[in-house]
Symmetry: C2
Subunit: 155 residues, 2 copies
Amino acid sequence: MRNLRDKKTFWCYEKLSKCCCRLTKPRHAILDVLSATEKHLNAEQIYKSASRIEPNIGLATIYRNLELLVNIGLVWKFETGNSKTVYELAECRHESHHHHLICKKCNSIIDYSGFRDNEKDFIRRREEMLSKKYDFKIQNHCIDFYGLCAKCRNA
Amino acid sequence: MRNLRDKKTFWCYEKLSKCCCRLTKPRHAILDVLSATEKHLNAEQIYKSASRIEPNIGLATIYRNLELLVNIGLVWKFETGNSKTVYELAECRHESHHHHLICKKCNSIIDYSGFRDNEKDFIRRREEMLSKKYDFKIQNHCIDFYGLCAKCRNA
DNA sequence: GTCCTATTGAGAACTATTCTCATTAATAAA
DNA sequence: TTTATTAATGAGAATAGTTCTCAATAGGAC
């Protein structure tokens, strides 16, 4: 058996074991796949890539673990509106959080980050205000803009 | 045949006919249902309510027309993350646009509106900046906060 | 190494949504 | 008002993404 702790997804282990989750090979493969890309992958794509690492992995295991990883906050689940749910690694590595521009025609997703400080401040203040007003513990947010990308607008 | 133009969803007709859509009874029933509530309804709920107005309406018709209404901008489609897609009337009646607080546990949705001017300004400026930077025509946006509602936090 | 039980793989089951197609009805034209 | 055109419909089949079931496996505490 390979040593799971050698791998580049090491930073996830603390969180996993804190949540009393075993560090299984399928889990490991999924995290490897997600950490190897900046793209948003759907379950099928994750399944295909993970199968190259763990050939016998099952699709149900992919779904089960994605749900788990989303629940413990390691992965961010994201619905585009065309029935393809996609997943991406949460900002565990202190990479900048990002928002999305989604094309309603071709469903492509543009990430944008590089927020100015005033954007971060704005969101933080907003979250504070809403938390208080609605007695709601905010854990994260999703800011997406919908419209038409350059390609689709000119096509 | 009842006169469709008598009904309270009159304000939608201009848009519908502009888009060369016929003013059918099923469409009318769906708009009536959506305009009679402030809640977010899923397709099944809309089907049930619309069936009371048009008993023979089919579920496929509900889906077809919701898609149409979303495309022409009369209805806003909204995915909660637990596979229940919900719909609500867009702000055709100049009601204030709103954002959401979504409980990750019970999937309840709190609407909030009452934005201050600086929030509107902020979003407008952001949209301008993003449109230019990414050559992307922004049509609308979705700002949602995820977390735990008071009930679930204390349960 | 042994034990406990969380996790798995495989495939069936489920569910939301979309498709197909013959029939109906909204609208434009006569 | 009647007629013609064709968009829209209802019913049910089909699809696709996801979840469930259950016997077998394997992580990790001891």
